[in-house]
Symmetry: C2
Subunit: 201 residues, 2 copies
Amino acid sequence: MAPTPDPSRRSAASRRAVLDAALELVQEVPYARLSIEGIAARARVGKQTIYRWWPSKAAILLDAFLALSEGDDGQAPVLPDTGDLVADLRLVLRATVAELTDPRLDAPMRALAAEAVHDATVAELYRDRLDGPLRDAKRQRLRSAQEAGQLAADVDLDVAVDLVWGPVLSRWLHRSGPLTEEFADQVLDAALDGLRARPGR
Amino acid sequence: MAPTPDPSRRSAASRRAVLDAALELVQEVPYARLSIEGIAARARVGKQTIYRWWPSKAAILLDAFLALSEGDDGQAPVLPDTGDLVADLRLVLRATVAELTDPRLDAPMRALAAEAVHDATVAELYRDRLDGPLRDAKRQRLRSAQEAGQLAADVDLDVAVDLVWGPVLSRWLHRSGPLTEEFADQVLDAALDGLRARPGR
């Protein structure tokens, strides 16, 4: 018996084809020249199919990026919490560096970050879908450390998140120096212990 | 006697008109639609005049931004060094926040930052003309503190610069929270003293 066509499977395949096409194209053309038409043609789907699922090329790119970077399971991200704050954060910050320097992820992330800088709609999408959930997970891990007495009680957790991840993001964005595991480790040590000279250190 | 026309004065006036036109236009149209033609028309100068002085619209914007933010005296930036590290850095970091939240500066800075994210030529211009000299000044101020025994001897000064300024830049870029003097002060305190709980604190 011939297999019956399964519309939901076909639709998952088209969705996948659109995400792949967007990822390919964003590495080939500048973001300004990336178009829904171009993505549709590359994915061999109709433009209307794309518009049914995504409001904009930034939304496609964000989905493509999420699918690549963390799997497409729709789960909210959670940071490891073994009780060893330094080991957990070191792992995560090194993983951030690995993602930011992964050539497959670099182009879509730069395109999204650049769009988010001056397009408030993209910034909102970026915040709601990507940065917001990640930020919650980071804050949650730091809160757990604060409750365990490992972080100072008067530290604002949003400041703490920015202190640990901000230097890595700004070095990536400005290409202001090498983005390495060593840099990640140095940032983490400096953020936890501070820059100030202290006796016995 | 009628004044003799002064070509160098006329040329300074045209230059100023181009910078003003670029600043006006970047607040009115998206960066992608900002054009040399549009700037020339608004400034009432010929396109060739612009091309004689600037290689690209990003270069115009960078000059406009530099002229606005720090005067056009061509001097390399220097950070205050009164010997009081906290007071000096607080002043400078608050000034950074004031610039980043100044509505006249916000549009050209976002346009430049976004372009620099995915255009390596603009990134280089940005680094050479704006970020590089500022970074040198920051590193110099921190080196002076390190030599005075105020910063830990083993701190990498590039890491230190990123730890103090990175959180402010990344909050501005991602609009991930309020960018206030209070935030600047909190970042500075956290960067100097670290996030870790310590006895007697």
